[in-house]
Amino acid sequence: MASSADLPAICTAFGDLLHQAGVPVTPERSARFTTSVVLAEPTSLHELYWLGRVTLTTAHDQYETYDRVFRQVFRGLVDIADIRGDAAESDEGGSPAPALPGEAPAPDTGDGGGGPEGRQGSGATPGAIDSDADADHASALAAVSARERVNDKEFSTLTDEELRLIQRLVEQLPFVPPLRRGRRTRRHRKAGDIDIRATLRRAHRSAGDPVQMVHRKRTTNPRRIILIADVSGSMEPYARIYLHLLRGAVRAIKAEAFVFATHLTRLTRQLSTNHTDVAYRQAAAAANDWSGGTRIGVALRSFVEDFGRRGMARGAVIVIVSDGWESDRPELLAETMERLSRLAHHIIWVNPRKAAESFEPLTGGMAAALPYVDTFLSGHSLRALQDVMDAISEAGDRVERSTRARARLAS
């Protein structure tokens, strides 16, 4: 195999195929693959498989695609026609990313819950905000008055034009992350511990006697913010706005963003790109359960287990946007919220239905979750969103856990 003069070409071609299937393979990686093949001189497909997987992939979730492409190229010639058909379709789409969730069946655990009828992402993704072209032409005055007009409008009753305006405004909302005490120290003029090293160094100047004390004080760092938004059918009118809030937070303060309906999807990476349209298209493709049923408990549990417990949620401020309509067991949600509340620093629950006068947090899920919520807000209009912003930036101070929420539930 190593004697083949075309080895680099073959390896690169394989890398290209993989790239088309959505695994980001750089020429550098293909070169590495080639070198490894020369070094190890694999004699079986098995060995070749492992060499490629080690050198070409960069994440655990790429293994599925890698396996598929490998099978396609090196095994069962019969399959090739079928799979090529799929690949050609996805090529027409232009961007390779959306091809994946479509091809691979959704990892739906399949017990009840929402059906996959909401698969067509375009329904729920906002028709993409029209960049900033509109704003540039409108005079400043018009913009201000337009903002006044939509300030108190309920999110579920917007015209298309208002929706676009609000989406743009929401994305630019000023995020001020709360602070936590950092591990590092910084030199300070008078307060804090004495920095022995710097004091001694300065003592060189005064013949070895420490005349001038140097102090260091702990720095403060922004706390991690995690936003988890419900994009199930019942939340659809709000989801198209909250997705923009997610993007604003991801870009402004490096928040982590997740959405869920029947299962949880991490969107941080997709939403952080500079290009607005691409961001939302990728987000829609990544989360393939838009407008599906709701399984909050299952989604939050997978958040706690796959991300939260590993460290992401520790000491973080978590914002959950959901109406609390749980189609699964509420006990699971309660149990998960309890675990989450032990990990997180502060939990903010935003429920747009709270604004309705007749609202009482009695839906199974909401009642189960509320005891573990520190701040409970409505966030149903632009003005109400400002409260959410304030709650986030004030969440740095430790408050007596959920006393307020409990009192509210009792009354």
Binding site: T26, E28, R29, R32, T35, S36, L39, A40, E41, H46, E47, W50, L51, R53, V54, T55, T57, T58, A59, H60, Y63, G182, R183, R184, R197, L200, R201, A203, H204, G208, T268, R269, E305, F307, R309, R310, G311, M312, R339
Partner: protein
Amino acid sequence: MSLAELVPSPEALADRLESCGYLADEGLATALFCAVRLPQPLLLEGEAGVGKTQAAKSLAQMLDTPLIRLQCFEGIDASEALYEWNYPRQLLSIRMAETQGASLDEASLFERDYLIERPLLQAIEHDGPNPAVLLIDEVDRADEEFEAFLFEMLAESAVTVPEIGTIEARQPPIVILTSNRTRDLHDALKRRCLYHWIDYPDLEQATAIVRARVPQASIELTQQVAGAVERLRGLDVQKPPGVAEAIDWVHAASLLGVVELDEDGVERTLSSVLKYREDQDLARAEGLSWVASG
């Protein structure tokens, strides 16, 4: 023996690792082979307790080179990872020179004697027949800035100390990074690394691994524990037990004189494998005899 002689192929590497008491499957052996021979840093990911750190330790043992370990944490910086000047010692030298009336110029204060070597510099300075194994543990815990600093060092295999000059590695160390995926690592770092995800081993392999690590325990006990750990992992536990827990469990059981895993034996040793109260409750609800024998 040179590296090429020591590890001519992934299978040879797996065999040698086995004689050091570490059983690597084909994928991991290939990954380690590439890390040693290409040479290229290797990023290992996987659930806690599948043997990421042990892989590096055993590799070092196999190559008969020192394992240099850098444990990452939030706020780690260059002075903790690379080098630091020994200030108290410098100061003492100045005082000594003063009392003895000797002259001491500044350059002699910044010599190697006053340099405290931290893990990265140690790994680069290592001079043996084979390169050192540098284990950068839990790199996801370090700050992003530190990551940037790290991959500069990985790419160059050289360290610059302004007062001394650039120290280049005679043999670039074999670098193994581990991550628990608390955050996404930077693409630039991933780009420079090979990647391998270590899965939980299957029942047969888990038994073999535990036997290799705790040879004094009976075969029956080892098999039962491996089976029980796999059953517990199937439960909806918060912290699924890995191979490390299985090894702890067999250790604990054989220490207590448990020869065969029964209900009573599980009761006495359960806390060595399940570390959350909720998890233990869950196992108890399922029945201890179920845990013991399925």
